[in-house]
Symmetry: C2
Subunit: 198 residues, 2 copies
């Protein structure tokens, strides 16, 4: 399985935002929506062996499972509507019990540390870093877990936590990519390296 | 310069569409908007040496020039608003005279054949095709021009026209990618192959 954790530092944790103002009122939720679709969608298909974790303000994590997700479309607005539906069910998430508002979409009251610890089990944790080695120097890892931030950098605490888990530190490009672009490039690296794709 | 032509088979040629319904009422304009931003935007930066041509229903072409474009944001809605602004100025495009409704955004009354013929001058035309050779087998071309279709396949006439211009026929991935994903992968190939990037 391929996994992606994306940190949303300003993303909403309540559903009271407008779908008409994702970059402003909804704390750059547009960035996170593009990451979800870049990770899970192909042209006319879903990557069933992919899981995406959106960590919202270190408070809740919304998970999208490619194996079971339905009604995921490539546009930002409909993906944001799925996020809003998940947040509307937040009260159903109690302790470690997730809310499961839609097929393949679940919400947990977990921040970055707990989400990373859980997703990292059995995974190869790949830290994306401008000064890392080119990813093409790396043999395709099994069950890779990529961790990305939104439009803001990792905080020092997040970076330190990630350092503790990272098996590899790699660079995808000499350019500074958006999160969704980074996900697309990471997938392409795995797809073309002959790694079993899903 | 890197150029991308993207064909929008159902995209609007008039500005009377809602920004709230891009995938439906606006004929999958969301697809084209993602292609524009994938081609032109980096994280906190613009690719100044890139030009994107959106061909709408073989009737008008909206061009985005990275060198001069302003106010281009990564979300679909604001990019669609730029397209709408361009279409509102359509009456100013007369004959070969473009309308220039915003910095770096111009509209011409040109279909695919004329747009391709013009953009191909001095360019290396790269046809993206599932059965093409892997792009990594190709030495990075100078001044590449990539031609893509939206969510629909090329028509037979479009494919035949493109065949006549194509210098190379390459595949980007064993997977079927969305247009914006294909653009991101093509950029990454050029970026990491040491091709002068802009």
């Amino acid at each position: 399985m391929r996994q992606f954790i994306v940190l949303g530092h300003e993303a909403p944790t309540d559903p009271d935002f407008s779908l008409d103002a994702l970059p402003s009122e909804a704390g750059r939720l547009d960035v996170l929506c593009r990451c979800v679709t870049a990770a899970l969608l192909l042209s006319h298909g879903i990557r069933t062996g992919v899981r995406v974790h959106l960590v919202l303000q270190d408070e809740v994590t919304i998970r999208f499972d490619g194996e079971t997700v339905r009604n995921l479309n490539p546009d930002e607005r409909s993906t944001a509507a799925l996020v809003r539906t998940a947040l509307e069910a937040k009260d159903e998430a109690i302790g470690h019990q997730p809310a499961t508002p839609a097929p393949g979409v679940s919400l947990r009251r977990m921040g970055f540390e707990e989400t990373l610890g859980s997703a990292a089990e059995g995974s190869t944790v790949v830290q994306l870093h401008a000064e890392g080695d080119p990813i093409t120097d790396l043999d395709p890892p099994s069950d890779p877990l990529f961790v990305l931030s939104d439009h803001r950098n990792f905080t020092d605490a997040e970076a330190a936590l990630l350092d503790g888990y990272a098996n590899h530190r790699v660079s995808l490009s000499p350019e500074r990519l958006h999160g969704d672009q980074a996900i697309t490039v990471a997938h392409n690296y795995l797809d073309t390296a002959g790694y079993d794709h899903y």
